[in-house]
């Protein structure tokens, strides 16, 4: 493979006897081959994209949640029940005598409902984001103002309940909607008696 070429002085036709000079030019083709082989290996074996994560904080024990529940006004409460076949049941306010509605995970489904409910906060967050783009707000300032907006007392409180028929994707989708709609107060709670009765009365 590695041929060493005589420096071609093709125009010279003379048959002068001369000492054989080894050319300094070396065929680099095999080396390039090797380099690309290794390159391919590294390209295929690496994972350049780091996985995304969603950070969630769960209430560490039930007492905290009870307190949260009492703080939340009935008018702010939204309950979402993730059912099977990507169906979502939701109702506002108290469980007793609530009017249960059905929606789905499409952009004009759950997201629309939550955005309408959380209109003020969502709008302020939008404005802040736009301002950040325009005026190049510092990251700290941005975060500070964001948390101020999110601390809005009138923002809805969302309870997410997943039924045993739902899957993990449903849960992540629901949590994702909370992020999109800038809802800061939400909790994953157990799907228990009053809600079970409510839903089962709905579906024969």
């Amino acid at each position: 493979m590695a041929e060493i070429s005589q420096d071609s002085g093709s125009h010279k036709k003379g048959r002068k006897k001369r000492s054989k000079k080894l050319a300094t030019r070396i065929d680099l083709t095999p080396m390039v081959d090797l380099a690309f082989l290794l390159l391919t290996f590294f390209m295929l074996a690496t994972s350049l994209i780091k996985p995304q994560t969603m950070e969630i904080t769960m209430p560490s024990d039930k007492k905290v949640l009870e307190e949260d529940k009492t703080v939340a006004k009935a008018s702010q409460a939204v309950s979402i029940i993730l059912a099977k076949d990507d169906k979502v049941y939701y109702y506002f306010g108290k469980t007793e005598g609530a009017k249960v509605l059905t929606t789905n995970y499409a952009p004009d489904g759950l997201r629309k409902i939550l955005l309408t409910k959380n209109f003020d906060v969502a709008k302020q967050v939008e404005d802040l984001k736009a301002e950040k783009m325009r005026a190049h707000l510092k990251e700290e300032d941005y975060q500070k103002r964001l948390s101020q907006i999110r601390a809005n007392k009138n923002a809805p409180v969302v309870r997410i309940m997943a039924t045993d028929d739902s899957n993990y994707k449903n849960l992540v989708d629901a949590l994702d909607e909370m992020n999109i709609c800038s809802i800061s107060r939400y909790a994953i709670v157990d799907y228990d008696e009053p809600d079970k009765l409510l839903i089962s009365s709905l579906t024969p």
């Binding site: 680099l28 083709t29 996985p51 969603m54 950070e55 992540v172």
Partner: protein
């Protein structure tokens, strides 16, 4: 008329430049690479708009597959060694140094401790077969999963919890995992998702 002489060009191409480029790229990839982790089973994570990246070190990975089997693993071979020794002691399983060594080389393992010895003895290409992975039990009667998390936390207090689950995993399994974590007061964790395009609001 004299014939126009066509100069014969040499076919020789100078490879030096190409070689330079190839090695430059090679160096780049070698330095930036962190190898794809080998996982015993392929899971399709759900997508989300979250843009937080997961840190590279001090991660406790909880992998949940479609059928609800739970796999568990932490990073760092030295830490893994301490972990498996702790677990083996707790469940009174005697592992040979060779088996412990084999465990430290595994990113994730999902088997009850009683089946761990047999699992580690398997040849490497047999380990990923579904029938050889029973999943870490996480039921309320036999919650080995909880012990794993607890021991891992003792071995490395800086660990962050990452849950990687398949999007088709039924919720009861996730609930079991979350409940176990809750009981251990591990209330902050990460759910691994893949990136989704930015949503349109209206």
């Amino acid at each position: 008329m004299p014939k126009a002489k066509i100069k014969r060009k040499s076919t020789w191409v100078d490879m030096t430049a190409m070689c330079d480029v190839a090695f430059l790229l090679l160096t780049f990839f070698m330095l930036t690479s962190n190898f794809t982790k080998k996982e015993p089973i392929l899971v399709a994570t759900p997508s989300s708009v979250s843009e937080i990246k997961i840190p590279e070190t001090n991660i406790m990975t909880i992998l949940v597959d479609k059928t609800g089997k739970v796999y568990f693993g932490i990073d760092g071979q030295e830490k893994r060694k301490q972990l498996i020794e702790k677990m083996a002691y707790m469940y009174k399983v005697t592992l040979t140094p060779d088996e412990i060594k084999k465990y430290t080389l595994l990113e994730l393992a999902g088997n009850p401790m009683q089946a761990m010895k047999a699992y580690l003895r398997l040849p490497a290409d047999m380990r990923d077969l579904p029938q050889n992975n029973l999943g870490v039990p996480a039921d309320s009667t036999n919650n080995e999963f909880k012990e794993w998390v607890k021991s891992a936390r003792e071995v490395n207090p800086d660990l962050r919890i990452a849950i990687k689950a398949d999007e088709k995993t039924p919720y009861p399994v996730i609930k079991k995992v979350m409940k176990s974590l809750q009981q251990l007061n591990e209330d902050r964790y990460n759910l691994i998702t893949k990136l989704e395009g930015a949503p349109d609001k209206e």
